[in-house]
Assembly symmetry: C2
Homo-oligomer: 410 residues x 2
C-alpha cells in the first residue's frame, strides 16, 4: 500500500517516502556523515539515532556507508522500518523535523568506499551493437556470451561521486590505417549508462553465493556512468581487455537506493536461450524494471530500459563468486551499458553515432560524434513503486574538462 509522509515532497521529486536512499553528506564545516533523502531534504540520521537508537549512532557518524552496509540484511530492514515510521507517523514530526536539512544546503560525498569494482556486459543489444562495430567479420555476440555474464575488473580507486569533473584522458591510440600509434587526448570520449549494485554482506574465500542469496549480500543500487575513451580502448584491449580506456573515471550517483525499495520493480528477465547452467538459475533470478534517461547538455538523447537486460544482477553475483572469489563490504558490480534494440534506447554515443560515422545533431544545431570539452552528461532513472507510485534513483552527472598537461618531474 502506498504510504504518505508528513514531509513536504514536491511534485516530481525523485525521493518520495518509498525510496529513502542513503548517502553521505556534509553541512558547512561539519564532518561528513550518513543521511537519507526525502523530498528536498536530507534526514540527518546520527542525531536521530543518538536520541532514539544509540546502537546505530556511531554507524551514522561514519564518513562512508561501509559500516552500515556491513551490518547485514536484518539491520538494513530494521533501520528502513524505523525511518519509514518516523517519516509517516505525524507524532514523530517534532522529533524528526529539526534533523531535516535542505538538500541545497549540503554537500554530497562518495557514499561508500569501493572495495572491488566489477563491470559486466549484460545487455544483449549493447554487446551485439559493439560486436558489429568492433568485430564486423565475426558474429555480433562472442560464443560465450549467452552462457555466462561476461565481466571484468575495473579500477575501484577512480570510482567517484557524481559531479566529479571528467578530465579528458590522454593515451595511445592507433587507427587501423595509421602506421604507428600516437599519443594525445582521447578523441573518442564516450559515456556508458549503467546500473550498479552495492555489496553489503561479505563472504569468505571459497564461499559461493547462489542466485537465491542475492538479497542477503546486495544492499542497493546506484546509477553508473562508465566513461570510456574508445580510441584508447580499441588499441589496448587485445588480449587482456579494457584498461586505460576505462580506468580514468567511473561516476556514480550519490544516493544508494536499497534493494528493498525496488520490490515492485522486480520482474522476470527476458527469456534466456540456451537455458543457463544450474549455478546461474534460481527463483530469485530477478530482472529490474528501471527506466533510464540520458541528457547531454540538458537535452534527452536516449531512454534505455533496464527491463531488457539479458543477465540479472543475481546471476552476475552468482557468477562472480562461483570460483570462490570472496566478496567484501563495498564491492560494486555494474551491469554494463544498458541498451535496447532501437537507437532511442542506446546507452552510449558509440552506438548512437555508429562509432562516430553518423554524428548526432543536438537541438542547438551542433553535432556530436563523441563528447566535446564542456559537455555535461546526466543519467537519471525511475522505477515502479507500490501502488502506481514511482521510485526515483536520482542522477549521476559529470562535465568534460580539457586534458591536463603532464605534471612536472619532482
Amino acid at each position: 500500500m502506498a504510504l504518505t509522509t508528513w514531509v513536504h515532497v514536491p511534485e516530481g521529486s525523485a525521493f518520495g517516502v518509498h525510496s529513502l536512499p542513503y548517502g553521505v553528506f556534509s553541512h558547512g564545516d561539519e564532518d561528513p556523515r550518513i543521511g537519507v533523502a526525502i523530498g528536498s531534504y536530507v534526514l540527518d540520521l546520527a542525531p536521530l539515532a543518538a536520541s532514539e537508537w544509540a546502537d546505530f549512532a556511531s554507524v551514522f557518524t561514519a564518513p562512508t556507508l561501509n559500516p552500515f552496509l556491513g551490518l547485514g540484511r536484518q539491520a538494513w530492514h530494521a533501520v528502513r522500518q524505523w525511518i519509514t515510521e518516523r517519516l509517516t507517523d505525524e507524532s514523530y514530526r517534532a522529533l524528526v523535523e529539526p534533523e531535516l536539512l535542505p538538500l541545497d544546503q549540503v554537500r554530497l560525498h562518495m557514499p561508500f568506499e569501493v572495495a572491488d569494482y566489477v563491470d559486466f556486459y549484460a545487455s544483449e543489444h549493447h554487446a551485439a551493437n559493439l560486436g558489429r562495430l568492433f568485430r564486423p567479420d565475426e558474429p555480433p555476440l562472442p560464443p560465450n556470451w549467452k552462457h555466462l555474464p561476461v565481466g571484468y575488473h575495473g579500477r575501484a580507486g577512480t570510482v567517484s561521486v557524481s559531479g566529479t569533473p571528467l578530465v579528458r584522458p590522454c593515451g595511445q591510440r592507433k587507427a587501423p590505417d595509421d602506421a604507428a600509434p600516437t599519443f594525445g587526448p582521447s578523441a573518442r570520449l564516450d559515456y556508458e549508462v549503467e546500473v550498479g549494485f552495492v555489496v553489503g554482506t561479505p563472504t569468505r574465500l571459497g564461499q559461493r553465493v547462489s542466485v537465491d542469496q542475492v538479497r542477503d549480500h546486495v544492499f542497493g543500487v546506484v546509477l553508473v556512468n562508465d566513461w570510456s575513451a574508445r580510441d584508447l580502448q580499441v588499441w589496448e584491449t587485445r588480449p587482456l581487455g579494457p584498461f586505460l580506456g576505462k580506468s580514468f573515471l567511473t561516476s556514480i550517483s550519490p544516493w544508494v537506493v536499497p534493494l528493498e525499495a525496488l520490490e515492485a520493480a522486480m520482474i522476470d528477465p527476458p527469456a534466456q536461450d540456451p537455458r543457463p547452467l544450474p549455478y546461474l538459475a534460481g527463483k530469485d533470478n530477478f530482472g529490474l524494471d528501471v527506466d533510464l534517461e540520458v541528457r547531454l547538455n540538458g537535452q534527452v538523447i536516449a531512454r534505455p530500459r533496464y527491463s531488457e537486460m539479458y543477465w540479472t544482477p543475481a546471476q552476475m553475483l552468482a557468477h562472480l563468486t562461483v570460483n570462490g572469489a570472496a566478496l567484501r563490504t563495498g564491492d560494486l558490480f555494474a551491469s554494463g551499458t544498458v541498451s535496447g534494440p532501437e537507437p532511442a534506447a542506446y546507452g552510449s554515443l558509440i552506438e548512437l553515432t555508429s562509432a562516430g560515422a553518423e554524428p548526432l545533431t543536438l537541438a542547438d544545431g551542433t553535432t556530436r560524434a563523441f563528447l566535446h570539452d564542456g559537455d555535461q552528461v546526466t543519467i537519471s532513472a525511475t522505477a515502479p513503486g507500490p501502488d502506481g507510485t514511482r521510485i526515483g534513483l536520482g542522477e549521476v552527472t559529470g562535465t568534460v574538462c580539457p586534458c591536463l598537461p603532464a605534471s612536472p618531474p619532482t
Copy 2:
C-alpha cells in the same frame, strides 16, 4: 660497501642486513604489527620506535604497512637508515636485541591492504608463448604489445598472503570440440611466477607519474603467484579479458623488500624496438636483475630471470597513470609471468607442458599436465646486493586443496 651486522645471520639466509624487508607479524595473542626481517629474526619495530623515535610508534603498531607506505620516500629512507644503524652498530645491541623475535615463533599476515591490483603482461617470451598456444593462427604477439605494457585490473580482495590454501576453483569451461560448456572444478590449474610492485605515495585524479618519478611512488617489491585456471580463462576471456580464471586467489610473499634494497639489481632492460613513445621513456627506466626459482613439491622446475622482462616497472607505472588514473597507497601492480626463451626459464605450467600436451615428469616419477590437489608451489628469488652480496626476496607458497561444495542456501 657491504655492511656487517651483529645479528647472527645463518649461511644462506634470505634476509641479510642489506635486505631488511617489512612485514606484518603477530606473536602469540598479541595484535599484528610491523616488523623487519633479519636473519632468522623479526625486529619488532613498535617498541624500538617507542623508546627512540616516538613519531613512528603508532605507524609500527598498525596491522598493515599502509600507514608507513603513505609517509613517502623521505620517511622510507630515514627509517631504513635508522634500522640499518641499529643492526650494524654493536653499541645498539643491548637496546635492540630484546626486540628480536625468532621468525619461527611468529605468524606472518598480509603485509598491506591492497587498494587496486593491476597485472601486466611484460615478458615478451611469455606473451609470445601464450599467443602461440591460444591464438595459433595469428602472430604470437598482439599488434599493440611492443607499443605499450599490456595490463588489466585483477581482484584486489583475493590477493592473500603466502600460505593461504588454494581452493581449486569451480566454473564454466568449454573445449573447442564440446557442444556446450560444462560446470565443475578447474582441470587446468596453473601458477604464474611474477614480481609485484607496491605503491606507497598516492596521486590525485588527473596526475601522471613519469618514468623518472617511479621511486617517489613505489615503495617496494613482493613475489606474486598469479594462480590461473586455464580452462575457465580461455572460455571467458573474449572480449573483456581474464576474470574468474584469475580472481579466486593471488598469493604474495609476506615480506616487502624496499626498492632501496635493490639498487645494485637495477640494470638496463633489453633493447626496445620500436622505440616507445616519449611518455614511456626516461633515464630511470630500470630493469631488475632478479633470479626467480619455482619449486613444485620441493623440486625446482624452473628458474625464470626478471632481467629479460621487456617492459620495466617504471614504464608500467607511467602507462598505468598516463590517462590520469589516481594511485592509492597500497596499489599493487605485478609484472605478469616472468618467462625466458628456454623451457628451463618458463614461469608457468602451461608453457612448460605446451598447454598440457607434454606433461612434466617429476623426480618421483609422477607427471603433471596441470596442478593436482595437494601440490605445493613455492616461488623464491634473489638479487644482487652491494659488493657481491645477494639480497633475498623471500618466498611465496601455496598448496592446492580440493574444490569446495556449494554453500547451502541461507
